[in-house]
């Protein structure tokens, strides 16, 4: 009886598996289906950033760096090679400036080339 049950369980599944085709995708020729909440590279809406440094303070992997000269002159630098892709910066930002997107391809031979200046704000003389 158990044997018949096993056959009844197995055969429809074998059939479905054969009919379904390959589960893998021909990456990078075809796109990968990623979930909506996927945490990829960090981006910024530079105009919203006020340089408060909360994202830098909360980043567990020290992936963000703030170079500040004065209140209005600062640079926010992103180090993807250190980034843990946890999304804490997005959570910590009170102004909705930082967000993570679906981009996860960071392959390079030069680690320095990954570093990105997210915000480069200079004093504007009025």
């Amino acid at each position: 009886m158990r044997c018949l049950e096993s056959i009844a369980y197995l055969f429809p599944r074998i059939w479905r598996t054969l009919a379904r085709g390959p589960q893998t995708v021909a990456y990078p020729l075809s796109p990968i289906d990623l979930p909506a909440g996927y945490r990829g590279r960090v981006h910024i809406r530079a105009e919203l950033c006020r340089g408060c440094g909360l994202c830098v303070r909360d980043c567990p992997a020290f992936g963000l760096e703030l170079e500040r000269e004065d209140r209005e002159t600062f640079r926010l630098i992103y180090h993807p090679d250190r980034c843990a892709y946890c999304g804490q910066c997005e959570e910590s930002c009170n102004f909705g400036a930082i967000y993570l997107d679906n981009d996860f391809v960071h392959g390079t031979f030069n680690r320095e080339a990954l570093i990105e200046v997210l915000v480069d704000r200079k004093r504007t003389n009025k």
Binding site: P35, Y38, P60, Q88
Partner: protein, 360 residues
């Protein structure tokens, strides 16, 4: 008869993580065994004293690669208690949903490892195929398969739409069927029983002596489960049973874990049905008032305990983590005594070791 010493580990195909055994073997029987740990010690507890409470959420998530969410949950629970913060009910429900999904994921992964160790690759394939359903649900919820980064101090950072809830419920229907099939295999398959029954026996006295927790304790007849005995919300509003078995061997542990998986699927469905409206997180202060707290949760492998002491700053003065694997590990010499050499792999798999958890 001559006695020989067989080393297993730190790198060995039987072990998924580094640890070392020295087995003294007489003929085919294990006479004595010693255990050596510490190969994956990362100094996480000390590192916690160097980082802020917020940064530590992501650090404690790295204690374990399987039950990562329950570690952050226990940590956040402790910090929230120190802050006197009331977490919104919806946030607690979503936290618990991830905890239960993680339990299903952990138990199915473990079943695959056990099956692999006893050479029953069909169950290994089935279990890991079905585990993909849970991983898909978790990835859709949090964006990550293993590191979810969902918890924040004061709640969670994810929310659920009605459509998403319906999708998860339909995925749970499929998972329910598959888990019932796996439970049927565990209960009836003769070759699985032949390899796991009367092996790695642990008596109720031993369980009490070594303070063993989780499925290993429940498989030896100790009826403990933090979710039922001291239910944190929302477990007090959910109905579930705690499976207990008297045999105390590897098969009993397999049965307990699979029954727990069935119960966890049931719990997930209840959580999704009863999910209240409202915010998912409360705003937390950065500086935590001075004090100390012990926070406990029922992880897939048993009770995980966090001790957190605050000196009033935004960096904890001390974080101490007690993981359930540590209590199971010290029972291994007792379990391995008199075991046939070919069954050592079954005993090792039976306790569901997480060395990264134990070493921290």
């Amino acid at each position: 008869m001559n006695r020989i010493t067989v080393p297993i580990g730190p790198q060995h195909p039987l072990l998924k993580e580094p640890m070392a055994f020295q087995l003294t073997v007489e003929g085919e029987s294990v006479i004595e065994s010693t255990l050596r740990l510490g190969y994956v010690h990362r100094g996480i507890e000390r590192l916690c004293q160097e980082r802020t409470y917020v940064q530590n959420i992501h650090l404690v998530e790295r204690v374990c690669g399987i039950c990562s969410h329950v570690h952050t949950t226990t940590y956040c629970q402790g910090v929230e208690a120190l802050l006197g913060l009331e977490v919104p009910l919806r946030g607690l429900y979503l936290r618990t949903l991830l905890c239960e999904l993680e339990r299903i994921h952990s138990h199915l992964l473990w079943l695959g490892v056990l099956a692999r160790n006893i050479g029953f690759d069909t169950i290994f394939m089935y279990a890991w195929r079905d585990r993909e359903i849970v991983l898909d649900i978790m990835e859709d919820l949090s964006g990550g398969r293993v590191s979810h980064a969902v918890n924040v101090i004061g709640g969670v950072r994810i929310d659920l739409t009605e459509e998403h809830r319906d999708t998860i419920l339909s995925q749970l229907d499929l998972l329910d069927k598959q888990v019932a099939h796996l439970l049927g295999i565990v209960e009836h398959e003769r070759s699985l029983k032949a390899r796991t029954q009367n092996i790695g026996h642990l008596s109720l006295e031993d369980v009490r002596r070594y303070c063993v927790v989780g499925p290993v304790a429940r498989a030896s007849g100790l009826n403990v489960d933090l979710r039922r005995d001291r239910p944190p919300p929302p477990y007090d509003r959910l109905t579930f049973t705690v499976p207990v078995h008297e045999d105390g061997d590897v098969w009993a542990r397999t049965w307990v874990r699979m029954r727990e998986t069935v119960e966890s699927v049931r719990l997930c469905r209840q959580i999704l049905t009863l999910l209240p409206d409202g915010p998912v997180a409360a705003r937390a202060r950065r500086r935590v008032p001075a004090g100390e707290v012990i926070s406990r949760s029922e992880a897939p492998r048993g009770e995980v305990i966090y001790y957190i002491r605050s000196d009033g700053s935004d960096i904890p003065a001390r974080v101490k983590i007690r993981t359930p694997t540590l209590t199971s590990l010290i029972t291994l010499p007792t379990q391995l005594e008199g075991v046939n050499m070919a069954d050592v792999s079954v005993v090792l798999a039976g306790v569901d070791l997480c060395i990264a958890c134990a070493d921290r």
